[in-house]
Structures are given as structure tokens and as C-alpha cells.
Symmetry: C2
């Protein structure tokens, strides 16, 4: 179903995720289409709301492409939200200014879980599939298009808390008091994520990513109960082709450092790490079995250009020589970032990684 990757004009991302040599380290940025861009704010104002933007395929395509017009990015990521699945399950996602995502009908009882079904992506999440098709066509093979979802655990956090939380008291109470019910919820979410990512692949996504934003709030023991097994199930069961046309899967998690060995053994092609993790250590602990994605501190975008370039160089050096690095931030771009600094970052990744490769060749030659 998935059109061949070899029609891509820029396949650095896919090569790096296959741990093949690249001429320069590929770079894209979490939340690269977002509020730090004035053209995004204009599109959003015209659409009326974040959700109208995300749910109208032509507008989602428009904002997905905006950062590519400004910056020499090596991938596009479809403009969407990590919480589309619970919205399609009937929890009714909305956004309150300054408070982030909210569900009108959160999970309050065990029987709420038993009423949940796995949404059919081509009907209940058709707007995402249409956005992928429109955007894939508009990209014309310029760079690969990334599709994504929240992780089963992270979806469950929002579904039970009804939104963001400081204490996560409701989901933690469920984890301790009703673990069987939570496992049922996580199993439903996992089936939904697999169906959703599979459909995104069929609709044109050339790489797939799972955001486990809240895995890091768990103790290591609870992570291995409530987050890791479901990420492993996704990596094992998501059919994504073979050989050079295999669609790579990236598992990103904030605070996932304690679990890098397990994540690397999951079968996912890439592991995304946040900026509190040293890439040299992450690479050594994952033994070269996966590509690593990350991990510039998003705060470095508040540095001046010289300091930002130096920090980009430090991140590249911490990964070291050899293939398998996708440059990214360790978390999404903050909305107060100066767009010019994003350009400095992207150009520095390419220039400094080319220079490193050249130096390595000279020293080897």
C-alpha cells in the first residue's frame, strides 16, 4: 500500500533510521509546525481554533508544509495531535487557552473503559488520513512524511485525568487500586494505536512515531508494567513491510533513560530521547541496535546563534561517528522561540555533521 520510498528526493531520515551512511545528519524538530511561526498563527486565526486546523485536511497540509518553506528540514510531520484516538473514541477533545488539552467526557469508572471501542481510522479518523494523503501529494517526494500517535500509557493519562495534571493522582490511583482495569484500557489503546498507525502508513506516512510523553512519571517498576509492554506490542505487531521499503517506527519518551535497553530490544527502528540523557551513554547502552533521535535541549533555541551552534556541535559529538543519528530536540519547540534561531539550528546540524564526516574521512584516509 505504501508508495515506494525510493522516489524521495531527500531520504536522509529513512537512511539514518536504517543506520545507513548519510551525507549530513538529518534533522527535524518536534512541533516544527507551530505557534512560534507567524504564518502558523495566521493559519490558525483563519481556521478559528487548533482543532479546526487539525481536522481540515487542506489546512493541516498547509501548516505541515510551512516550516519546510523556511528551513532545510529533512522531514515533515503531519499536523495533528497525540490525542486524536480518545477523541474518536467519544471523549471529545477540546483545548482551553493556557490550560492545554481537555476531554469533555473523561474515563471516570471501570464501566467507562468497557464501553470504549477501537476507532476505525478511515471513518472516525478520516480527517487524519485525508491530511496525510493531501500532504504526501503536496510534498512530491521532497522529504518523508511522518505520522504519529500518543502511546497507550500517555493516552490513558489524559483519558483518566481529563487533561494534563501536576500530580496524576487519578491515573496513579487506578494503577495501584485497579491495575486490571488499567490494563484493559491500555490494551484497547494499543489496538487503536496499531490500527491508526497502520492506516497512516497506508495513507502515505513514510515513518511512524509514538509519543510516550508521560512514561517518565512512572517508577521504573510501574513503567515495565504499564508503558513498556504496550510499546513492545506496538513494535512487534505493527506490520510495516520489509527491506528498504520498511516503514520505520520511532518510540519517543520523556524520561525513558532507565529503559533504553528494553526499548532498543523492542523491534522499533528508532528511539527518541530527551535532553537529560547523554547520547554517548544512550548509544552505548542500546548497542547500535537502533537509531537514536534527539536530543538538543529545547532551551538552546533561546541561546544566541554562536552558542546555539556550539550546542548543536556538542550534541553531534556526543552521538559520535557512524550512522544512526536523527537530530531533533529533546521536546517540542517552545512558542516563544525566534524562528530565525530554528534556521540557525537546522543549518548548523547539516554544516557541522558534514564537517565531521569530512574530518573522519580524512583521518581514516
Amino acid at each position: 500500500m505504501n508508495p515506494a520510498h525510493n522516489q524521495l528526493k531527500n531520504d536522509r531520515l529513512l537512511r539514518a533510521l536504517r543506520r545507513e551512511p548519510v551525507d549530513a545528519t538529518p534533522v527535524w524538530l518536534m512541533r516544527q509546525a507551530g505557534r512560534y511561526l507567524p504564518e502558523y498563527r495566521a493559519s490558525r486565526a483563519r481556521a478559528g481554533s487548533f482543532l479546526a486546523l487539525a481536522k481540515t485536511p487542506e489546512l493541516a497540509c498547509e501548516v505541515t508544509l510551512q516550516p519546510l518553506e523556511r528551513f532545510d528540514l529533512d522531514a515533515a510531520i503531519i499536523f495533528s495531535d497525540i490525542l486524536t484516538i480518545p477523541d474518536a473514541m467519544g471523549l471529545e477533545l477540546h483545548f482551553v487557552d493556557g490550560e492545554g488539552p481537555k476531554f469533555a467526557r473523561p474515563i471516570k469508572t471501570v464501566s467507562d473503559i468497557d464501553r470504549l471501542g477501537v476507532p476505525d481510522p478511515e471513518t472516525e479518523l478520516r480527517y487524519v488520513m485525508d491530511a496525510l494523503r493531501v500532504t504526501r501529494s503536496a510534498l512530491g517526494g521532497r522529504v518523508p512524511l511522518i505520522g504519529f500517535s500518543g502511546s497507550p500509557w500517555t493516552l490513558a493519562c489524559y483519558m483518566v485525568e481529563g487533561g494534563g495534571s501536576e500530580t496524576f493522582s487519578l491515573i496513579k490511583a487506578m494503577a495501584w487500586n485497579e491495575p486490571a482495569a488499567l490494563h484493559r484500557l491500555l490494551a484497547i489503546n494499543t489496538a487503536a494505536v496499531i490500527a491508526y498507525l497502520s492506516a497512516q502508513r497506508a495513507a502515505g506516512a513514510q515513518a511512524l512515531m509514538v509519543f510516550d510523553t508521560w512514561g517518565g512519571i512512572l517508577t521504573p517498576a510501574q513503567y515495565t508494567q504499564f508503558s513498556l509492554p504496550y510499546l513492545e506490542r506496538i513494535a512487534a505487531e505493527l506490520q510495516r513491510g520489509d527491506g528498504p521499503d520498511r516503514t520505520p517506527l520511532i518510540l519517543f519518551g520523556r524520561g525513558n533513560q532507565a529503559h533504553l535497553e528494553a526499548l532498543a530490544a523492542s523491534g522499533a527502528e528508532g528511539i527518541g530521547v530527551d535532553w537529560t540523557c547523554d547520547l554517548a551513554e544512550a548509544r552505548s547502552r542500546t548497542g547500535g541496535h537502533v537509531a537514536l533521535q534527539g536530543n538538543l535541549d529545547p532551551g538552546a533555541l533561546f541561546a544566541n546563534p554562536a552558542a546555539l551552534r556550539a550546542e548543536v556541535g556538542r550534541v553531534l559529538a556526543s552521538f559520535g561517528e557512524g550512522p544512526g543519528h536523527v537530530f531533533n530536540l529533546g521536546h517540542g519547540i517552545a512558542q516563544t522561540v525566534d524562528p530565525d534561531n530554528v534556521g540557525v539550528l537546522v543549518d548548523a546540524v547539516h554544516a557541522l555533521s558534514r564537517a565531521r564526516t569530512a574530518t573522519a574521512s580524512v583521518s581514516l584516509g
Copy 2:
């Protein structure tokens, strides 16, 4: 200056921090005097505000003692705030409901840093010293009294951001763009923390703790530049006596897992860790050179009593046999916690650790 510790009726905390055997694992809880207690809310309502409570020694003593009336805690921690030092420097601390601490006059320019002086604890922070004296006397040797401060880096975060932050863009910009100015700020903060903790010891504090709440927002490389060296300086330069009368120092940091070896080598007697760190691993990496304080997930206080007891047992087991464990949460108590569950926790720590000690003796004997 510091009255002898051997007049204590319960010296489990100090014994554990010296890694001496104890009959039961000592337990106290960060934010044990706080809003989850109705009697605290009543005291605060009478005082009019958090700061009035903290700045009136008799009221600070009253709320410090409240949790000891309810629970079999092994330590009192003086009711105060981590941000008293910058307040005394003239930044004017205040609290906005629902938004946390704010400074009326944050650090905005490099020249603001050059105007800062080290407060004299017995004049500008006299209310803290008086609160310690009154409370130490009121405790009558029942349990030891802990004094504390924010860490130099954590103080700097609040001083530059003017309050809490999601992105820490101002302090991060300073770290990258004006590192020399930030180091001057951190040096002043360090001198102030040393003077402050030294005075707290003289006023009766029997253990001292530094809260590095925001060390974990730094990359490992920046932590070793901007947080660790100042914690090391405190541990090295703070005069705290020798032998059995030595006043132990505990360095707590959220997200400090990457730096446990360095922290253990600092000379501090105890290292506090959050709940995302496995105590067995922390103990192995710190090589038994320090006591460890922690690390129950504060979310476990939302579990039912049986699940809470099981989780207390898991934390005790993760530390394992032998001395050097101070039981605590990995972060402060949330204000929506049921006080009865705090009693369940405290009693479970004592009962389960006594049972473990008995089993170990039997299996050894």
C-alpha cells in the same frame, strides 16, 4: 554551638544518615507540614498567608509540629520556603494563588547580579533562626529538626525567571549567552546558602538539606557546570562538626540520577533521589559511601492502604538490607492527599522495616 544530638529520644534519622544500624527505617516526608492537613489550613487561614505563617516563628513552629501530633514521624522539618534567601536579598517573594512563588524584583540584567549581597542570617533571615530556636525547644528532643535551603542553581532559576516556568527560557538563555554572569550569581547564592545553613545549625537544626528542585532541567553537561560544582562547594565548605555530633547534610535533587556518583563523592552524608530512580541501582552506583533518602512515588498516597503498604514494601526491598536508608517520598506531598493515608505510610515503613530486620537476623542467625 549545636546542642548535642545524644539528648534525642529518637535518633533514627541521624543514625541512618551515619549509616549505623537502626531498629526501624526512619521516615519523614517532604512537605509533611502542608495543605493536605486541615489543621495546617486552619493555621494558614488565621495567619492570612503562607508567608505570614513562615515569617512568624511561633506559627512556623505550630505547623512544623502538626504532622508529628498525627503521625509517628522520625524527624521534623522547619516550616519555611526554599526561596527565603533571594527574598532576603531584596527580590521580594510573594505567592499568587494557583501560580506558586513569584519575585517582585527578579534578576533582569547582569548589573542586577552585581548588586546582590549575601544576607546576614541573624538579621535578614532572623525569622527562620527564631523559628528554629522556638521549634527546637518545643520538640524537647523528641525527634531531630531539619533545616534547609534551595540549591544555588534552583535559587537562580527562580531569581531569573521571576517564578516557576515551563520553558526556563530566561535562565537557559543566561546559561548559554552569559555563563560568566550566571557563575557570579551562583557563587553569591552558594556563599549565601553556606552562611544560611551554618546559622541554621547554630540555631538548632540537627540535619541540613539542600533542595535542587530544578537540577533535572539541565543537560548532563550543563548540570556539571551550573549545579554540581556549587553543591560540591556547599558540601566541602559548610562546617558541620565531627564525630557523632556532626550535623549531616542531605543533597536532594529531582532528576539527579545521572549524577549520583559525583554527588556521593561530594562529602554530603545523604543523597535524596526522586521516584524515577531505582534505589538498588542508586545504592550500587553510590557504593555505600552515602545514605540514600527516598523515594516513594508521591502518587502512591492516592492508592488504597493495601496497595500503599505493598509499595512501601517494594521501596524498602529495593534499598535492601543494611543501614543507610531514610524513607521519604520522591517529591513533596500533594495537597489533595488523604491524611489517613500518610499514617498508613509511616506505620508501614516502621512495621515492614522491623519485619525485614527480624527476618534478616533470623536468616543470618
